[in-house]
Symmetry: C2
Subunit: 406 residues, 2 copies
């Protein structure tokens, strides 16, 4: 496997574009993105578990119920959620795009992110679609344009692509993501679009994605709030021409591994660019009784406001980690817990068998001043492990989310 350039246009037959259509007032910020596949692609998707769901999710779910799609259109600046005409607007967007692309309206994945509870005016979108389609390209910049089009308060563009082999045939997979941002008056939202030219049956693609997110996107937390518009979609157009992956086995495993490389990278980028974040936090739990308990503990630690605030202050405050394990609800013997802090500057043991050990505060501080911190938790209960990703809690998180809407 090899990291390559190109993001969502790295794979054969995929094109992308991004423009400013006018939903956002800032004319320098793209607010509409398009991804298009020459051929209809196997398509799989996972959605937020929030009962309040954006209208685009409902329309997308219906459109890809046959397992196929050919294009993704996504706007930022308005989530099209909690609006009476939401479904109608989402459907009309698909229709407008389909007529210009000359594809079936049912083959469009539609997504929105931004303010909720404010009607989405479809006019700027419809007006921009011809230019959006005209600018479709396989240039590296095209993926970046699309990635920018879906960003909200993200400070950094998130894209990746890798090449890998399926039965000796080279395939490519790439993705773009927007992470936790909030706009007038929005909430943390995650959108991920992944494209691949691997040939894989829709049901195996859905199986791969549904299995993968349990250990990736479902293990990311910025502030514990689950958005109404979260969506992860994968399109596989088969143009690499490998023998079709239609069952489990070596080829499926190779695909899963490549998918996982893309998703883990994007998870880490989403966490590191959480609202106001100055640090990526990674929590590695091992020695758990079973995977479920490992995950409960990893998530409890990464979600603790007190742990997150301590990491912002580069404070080796292991008591808060033990505390978060204690209230997690996991089946765990707290008297057998070891805790380490780790970064590129080294690793330090701070708690052994549930009690503090003598450690150098200076070395701990040096380790914790880095941008990427790993909290290593070793339990003495078994062999299961889990990893979660998050970020520190900072003044800027409060500033971004507490400022008056103006």
């Amino acid at each position: 496997m090899k990291i390559i350039e190109g993001g969502v246009v790295a794979a054969k037959g995929f094109y992308a574009s991004g423009v400013h259509c006018g939903i956002r007032k800032n004319k320098t910020k793209k607010d509409l993105a398009l991804i298009y596949s020459e051929k209809k692609a196997s398509t799989a998707s996972v959605y937020t578990t929030n009962k309040v769901k954006g209208a685009p999710l409902t329309v997308t779910k219906e459109n890809i119920s046959d397992g196929y799609a050919q294009a993704v259109i996504c706007n930022s600046g308005n989530a099209n959620t909690c609006n009476a005409d939401g479904i109608e607007v989402a459907k009309s967007t698909c229709d407008a795009l389909a007529s210009v692309l000359k594809i079936n309206s049912n083959d469009v994945v539609v997504a929105s992110t931004g303010v909720i509870g404010q009607p989405l005016d479809i006019t700027p979108i419809v007006n921009a679609i011809p230019a959006l389609v005209d600018s479709l390209s396989k240039d590296e910049k095209a993926s970046k344009d699309a990635a920018e089009g879906i960003m909200t308060t993200d400070t950094r563009l998130k894209e990746i692509a890798v090449s890998f082999e399926v039965g000796g045939v080279e395939c490519k997979i790439g993705g773009i993501a927007k992470g936790s941002g909030m706009i007038h008056p929005n909430m943390a939202t995650m959108l991920v679009f992944i494209t691949t030219d691997a040939k894989i049956a829709p049901e195996m693609l859905q199986k791969a994605l549904s299995s993968d997110i349990k250990n990736t996107f479902n293990m990311v937390s910025v502030d514990g709030d689950t958005s109404t518009n979260d969506m992860v979609t994968v399109m596989a157009n088969g143009m690499a021409d490998n023998a079709i992956i239609d069952s489990e086995g070596e080829d499926f495993d190779a695909f899963m591994k490549a998918l996982n490389t893309v998703t883990v990278y994007l998870c880490r980028r989403i966490a590191a660019d959480g609202e106001g974040a100055t640090k990526l936090l990674e929590c590695e739990v091992s020695g758990a009784k079973d995977e479920q308990n490992a995950k409960i503990i990893a998530k409890s630690i990464i979600c603790s406001s007190l742990v997150k605030a301590a990491m912002f202050g580069s404070d080796a405050n292991w008591g808060r980690i033990l505390c978060a394990i204690g209230y997690s609800g996991a089946d765990v013997d707290v008297n057998r817990v070891d805790v380490f802090f780790k970064s590129s500057k080294g690793e330090i043991l701070v708690c052994e068998n549930g009690a503090g050990v003598d450690f150098s505060e200076e070395i701990a501080k040096e380790i914790l001043l880095e941008d990427e911190i790993t909290i290593v938790v070793k339990l003495g209960d078994g062999n299961a492990c889990a990893t979660s990703w998050g970020c520190d809690l900072t003044y800027d998180y409060v500033k971004i989310n507490g400022d008056y809407r103006t």
Copy 2:
């Protein structure tokens, strides 16, 4: 029922004191508190559900297993948690106090709050006990001294007392509390001590307390972190000489009502004085299918970092409230949710049947600029209701919890 002065010494036969013993470096801050009853008192307690528990909780649980106690000793500045010698230190504290008070060591309730994972030196406590006992008093100031002795980063002293009648006999009940504070390197911690001269059997006292906290202390959240040292203890010495409450009925109900007045007041004070808080948030949920669903929703809203940050900014961001309802896991029809913001400045409807309504941002802002905000959520699912308490998320929360330990 009538609000009266005196806090924990309002009830007959109760005395209190507070001193600086030296656990804390700041000599102007009391760090040791004592409450004493002339007569052995029926005693009930509830404890944190965190699996990591402070040693004092274990010792207290054992001491009051017979349903009785006569004194409470509590230090601040060190939580005596995650220490190898924790149980020994807690027991020795009881012994030292008992020998000076000439009571049984098994009749002492012991509590600690502060830094965890650092050995608690018992010497300053033992040395201070004679002075602590000498200064026991029924003066109003005595309750305040004790209240100050248990404070950590609390900015305001929390005490209340009320008089009420049980079968025509006047009884008194009062309490002190410490709320969410953190010290080098501690976590949010809640301690509440309540005294009453009502005559009530230990099992009925425990029943009253266990039932009450479900709707009071269990509905308070400052940052979602559950401390290792939370404890609520009630002592009832019977000196009001009412007919003993040993079963349910009118007298038990009168007691429950008085207890609830004390606990709700302390809940609101703890929430309002949450770390860094500038506002008390109250969330009233009604129209739920059942109480369980009402509580899940009320807690989900009060715990949402995004809602808390919006309230800090006096931003009528109702989308975040709907979002928190949606991911709460409650059985709820999100299309029938109405949301209002309320304060002493008035009330405003911002969301009806799950969708936004036109409302005046100016009036909403005026309402939300107040110190005490109520988020009113009306569901259309049934008749159950619940109330939760919390506070806004502010720069100071991050500052208090993110600063380097020094």
